[in-house]
């Protein structure tokens, strides 16, 4: 207890404040967004409910994916009529609310058959954590439980903002304004707020990714110790056990740990090898245990419960196979302009860097069914030009310092590249199987630390003296962005 308090005291007051601000902001989002309206929240809730009720993850069989309780709630909320059409509203009359509450008062089973949904092949860590507020919720009403479970996501989002703060503190220890700026920019990023509003496994992925960036930077700055090796391994394991997307970061993390070990060679070869082995073992043991449980106790089909099969297999339901060249073309076009020899145009609707990643980060809310007026996205695109220029000026001015960090940033680049490739690799299979687009801007949020760093570089581009002033301007922009995203959401669901 005292140890925990000591650890807390070692976080600067500004960091603790950033945590609280992010927490309350996420709670606000959680109160604004109606139940189940965060993408896939119905599936995430279903997983958590199954785990809370049975103590094990869903078997992914042919059973019913949702409990009678959840099905009734979704029907009474007119959930499927509301998603996808911004003109539709959920429960907005007293009669509808009375009907909903009467339906929820029925004694319906909270147990589903654990059938397949978009989340059931994911590992259970987030859902095991979500089971705690499910159990301790004083209300046994499904929407009451959901409201309490949403608080967990708010906590995780606040933790992510704090991790960004700590990451920047390691990276730029002499610029305290920068730590706060990066953390607040993440806390007030409206898509982060929107995702943190719901029962959504991505929130733990964002936190574990941000913690990984922080721990690697800390170890690079201060040297690899036994405690730091264990922490890096533990966070890596937690990341993989939260969402398998984290696997795409693992090559970069492994490279970073090897780099840290190599830098430690002068303190003894055996010591360096031991520390790297500790990090690897700490990461591997829980994952192997999870795999064995999948195969033996939980009977989930395979070591990773089929979690990578859909994303990594080359066969489509139609019997066709996705070739390596098609995958590479798709991955390229997902982020960069199509080259003349790429004969297939995968994104005829527009250049994904703009329409998907940038506009999506500015805000594609709900089940991708509402957003800002068009001029907001155009303004965002225009703002990116001076922001990019300012960040480039910063990097140039700070080139001597950047050189020192270059090896670590090379491993971060591998992590980022791994994520981009994984999104594309899974994306082409999904798109060719279903005809629907796959990627969403939130898939890049495991890199939120780099977003925080980008905003710091933009502010620092104004020079040492004016950097805090530009930081204040960026912060106000983020506050406005967040506030108007919240009012937009209120008008979408209640107006």
């Amino acid at each position: 207890m005292r140890r925990g308090r000591d650890l807390l005291r070692r976080i600067p007051r500004a960091g603790r404040m950033c945590f609280l601000v992010a927490l309350v902001n996420s709670v606000v989002w959680g109160l604004i967004v109606p139940p189940f309206h965060v993408p896939d929240e119905n599936a995430h809730f279903s997983y958590a409910q199954y785990l809370a009720e049975t103590g094990k993850p869903p078997p992914e069989g042919a059973g019913a994916p949702y409990s009678a309780q959840e099905n009734t709630a979704l029907a009474a909320l007119s959930f499927f009529a509301v998603i996808g059409d911004p003109q539709m509203r959920g429960v907005i009359t007293p009669t509808e609310n009375r009907t909903l509450q009467a339906e929820l008062r029925q004694r319906l089973s909270p147990l589903s058959g654990g059938g397949s949904t978009s989340t059931t092949n994911e590992p259970p860590l987030y859902y095991a954590l979500a089971a705690v507020p499910y159990w301790i919720s004083p209300s046994h009403n499904i929407l009451g439980r959901l409201a309490f479970m949403r608080l967990l996501s708010a906590l995780l989002a606040a933790g992510t903002a704090l991790a960004v703060f700590l990451f920047l503190r390691e990276l730029v220890p002499r610029w305290p304004w920068a730590w706060t700026l990066g953390a607040l920019m993440v806390a007030f990023q409206p898509m982060v707020g929107f995702i943190s509003a719901g029962v959504q496994g991505d929130n733990l992925l964002f936190l574990t990714s941000a913690l990984t960036f922080w721990l690697l930077t800390r170890a690079y700055q201060r040297g690899l110790s036994e405690k730091r090796a264990i922490a890096i391994g533990a966070v890596t394991a937690a990341g993989i056990l939260s969402k398998l997307t984290f696997l795409s970061l693992v090559p970069g993390i492994a490279l970073a740990v090897l780099l840290l070990g190599w830098r430690d060679l002068d303190r003894g070869r055996v010591r360096a090898v031991r520390l790297v082995a500790i990090a690897a073992a700490t990461a591997l043991i829980p994952i192997v245990a999870y795999g064995i449980l999948n195969l033996t106790a939980w009977h989930r089909g395979s070591f990773l419960a089929g979690g990578t099969a859909g994303a990594a297999g080359s066969a489509l339901p139609s019997g066709q196979h996705v070739t390596l060249r098609e995958s590479l073309d798709y991955i390229w076009e997902l982020y960069l302009p199509r080259l003349p020899f790429m004969h297939r145009e995968y994104f005829p609707g527009g250049y994904p860097l703009r329409t998907l990643w940038l506009d999506g980060s500015i805000g594609h809310f709900g089940w991708l069914d509402y957003g800002f007026p068009g001029w907001v996205y155009r303004l965002g695109e225009w703002l990116l030009v001076p922001f990019g220029a300012l960040a480039a000026i910063s990097v140039f001015r700070l080139r001597a310092q950047v050189r020192r960090w270059l090896p670590l940033f090379a491993t971060f680049a591998v992590m980022a590249l791994g994520l981009l490739v994984a999104i594309g690799y899974a994306g082409i299979r999904y798109q060719l199987s279903t005809g629907n687009g796959f990627a969403q801007a939130r898939y890049l949020f495991p890199l939120l630390c780099l977003y925080g760093l980008f905003t710091v570089l933009v502010a620092r581009g104004a020079g040492r003296r004016w950097a805090p002033v530009l930081a204040a301007a960026l912060f106000m922009l983020a506050m406005a962005h967040n506030l108007f995203a919240e009012t937009l959401t209120i008008s979408r669901y209640y107006g």
């Binding site: 606000v28 139940p35 059409d85 409201a147 607040l184 204040a472 301007a473 506050m479 406005a480 506030l483």
Partner: protein
């Protein structure tokens, strides 16, 4: 970062060091002033824009029959009547809207009747000739009884197409002159008059407590506003202290 360490820094004469410190402090003060100015101006600007955003008067929704306008789903000819089940009329509905396509021709007059379970008239709406698209009609209530069905009569004229869903999901599916149809029509309801967001605030306050866990109520929106004010105050204070 790459600033010189204490040992590496050349020793300056005391007077020069004091002068450097004074200049630094002056610069620090002017930076702090500029930061405060940006935060104050930014806050005022945001509040101003928010106030402006909430001021325009426009139609505000009172709900719908939960049928998405995905496609044209019913095709009555002039003189025909489409009837379908509904789950009551929203308490604050003062206008009703349906999507009517006419293949480019002038839309014939239409009349809507909302009927109770006993077949008695609950409310009605009508519109004269006009262009195709969403037809918004003022709704006149004649009874407080709950409506169980709605009938849309197309006056004599060319065939029209009604927007809705092609596969019926409603318990009392649509019927065209009594014949069951595969799809349903979408009905949107609007409040009686155009309103600003300011005028709608009491309604938003009510709606915010509905469709959630039973312990939420009409206090929820006020609570959210209080939390937003708290977040803003804390974040601005943090920025004032840290951005220097």
């Amino acid at each position: 970062m790459a600033q010189l360490t204490r040992q590496e820094r050349p020793k300056l004469p005391r007077v020069l060091r004091q002068s450097e410190a004074r200049t630094g402090a002056r610069r620090g003060r002017s930076t702090t002033r500029a930061v405060r100015l940006v935060l104050a101006a930014g806050t005022l600007l945001i509040l101003g824009v928010l106030a402006l955003e909430m001021s325009p008067s426009a139609p505000r929704t009172a709900g719908s029959n939960r049928v998405q306008p995905q496609a044209f789903s019913l095709f009555p000819a002039g003189g025909q009547t489409v009837c379908q089940g509904i789950e009551g009329l929203p308490y604050d509905a003062g206008r009703v809207s349906v999507l009517i396509g006419t293949y480019g021709r002038v839309r014939p007059p239409v009349q809507m009747k909302f009927l109770g379970a006993d077949g008695g008239l609950v409310a009605q709406a009508a519109a004269g000739r006009g262009p195709q698209g969403y037809v918004v009609m003022p709704l006149r209530r004649v009874s407080r009884a709950p409506a169980g069905s709605v009938c849309l009569r197309i006056a004599a004229g060319p065939k029209v197409a009604l927007g809705g869903e092609v596969v019926s999901a409603l318990p009392g599916g649509a019927r065209l002159d009594g014949k069951p149809q595969p799809g349903d029509m979408t009905i949107f309801y609007y409040r009686p008059h155009n309103e600003t967001w300011w005028q709608l605030l009491p309604v938003l306050d009510q709606r915010f407590g509905w469709g959630k866990a039973p312990f939420f109520g009409s206090w929820t929106l006020l609570f959210v506003v209080a939390l937003v004010v708290l977040v803003w105050a804390a974040a601005l204070r943090l920025a004032v202290v840290e951005f220097r």
